[in-house]
């Protein structure tokens, strides 16, 4: 029975299609959402370090300030702004606005532009204030 089940023809799944950019951003949105949820552990760790006092905070700041730490934070900032930008688009879509093909193709570009620009701005701000 099990063998028979395995031999059944399967309909083609996601990987056989050349997905439009909107779909790729949608998939990324979900992956980034899960990644950001995991990142909440880091945020609570950072709060713990500050609550515990100077030595642990200094250590946490050193970890986040290292090249590895900064790379991870760069990734998280990109994820955050992609999730934010595409999330705002979702809220606009909720109103029934901008759902046709031409409009979604245009808003794809806006979402990616906003993500890139906000990520760059955030790091410039961090660099200026630090």
């Amino acid at each position: 029975m099990a063998e028979q089940a395995r031999e059944r023809p399967l309909s083609p799944h996601l990987q056989v299609y050349n997905l439009p950019l909107t779909a790729r951003i949608s998939i990324l949105h979900r992956i980034m959402g899960v990644a950001l949820s995991g990142g909440l552990f880091l945020l609570v760790y950072w709060l713990w370090a500050l609550a515990m006092g100077q030595p642990s905070y200094q250590q946490a700041q050193a970890i986040f300030g290292s090249w590895l730490g900064l790379s991870v934070l760069l990734g998280f900032s990109f994820a955050l702004f992609l999730h934010l930008s595409h999330g705002i688009r979702h809220l606009i879509w909720d109103a029934g606005v901008g759902l046709n093909k031409v409009q979604t193709q245009a808003s794809d570009v806006w979402v990616l532009l906003a993500t890139g620009m906000l990520t760059a701005l955030a790091w410039m701000l961090g660099w200026l204030l630090a």
Partner: protein, 129 residues
């Protein structure tokens, strides 16, 4: 012989009636998180180069502590709703799904309690940290 109306017979056989609440909750937290996220990023940029005295002083400002708590609570709630949907979408095995959901809810509850406690601890800490 069944004297119940067709509506009465159909009631309770459909969905769990939680979908709309989940949807609305997800959207409302999204709206709240737009300004909170921008505030959070600016706050982190400011705190990036801080030592513990500067960071503690920052948390001693009630507005900063309150906004940080708001950001943390709404974000944890939003993440809880979002990851729940991912688990429900991809895990077909009921046992695995229920265990995963319990782990998710438990983890989110722990992060909420711990995060709140640490912020309160920092905000009310007196003297040298």
């Amino acid at each position: 012989m069944d004297y119940r109306t067709p509506l009465s017979r159909a009631r309770g056989l459909g969905s769990a009636h939680e979908g709309t609440g989940h949807f609305v909750s997800q959207r409302l937290s999204s709206w709240a998180l737009i300004p909170l996220t921008f505030w959070f990023v600016v706050a982190l940029a400011y705190l990036a180069g801080s030592d513990s005295t500067q960071a503690t002083d920052w948390f001693h400002q009630p507005l900063n502590a309150l906004l940080f708590i708001s950001f943390l609570l709404v974000t944890l709630w939003h993440a809880n709703l979002g990851v729940q949907v991912v688990i429900e979408d991809y895990l077909y095995c009921d046992v695995l799904k229920i265990i995963s959901l319990m782990l998710l809810k438990g983890t989110m509850a722990l992060l909420t309690i711990a995060g709140l406690y640490f912020i309160v601890h920092i905000s009310f800490a007196t003297g040298a940290a």
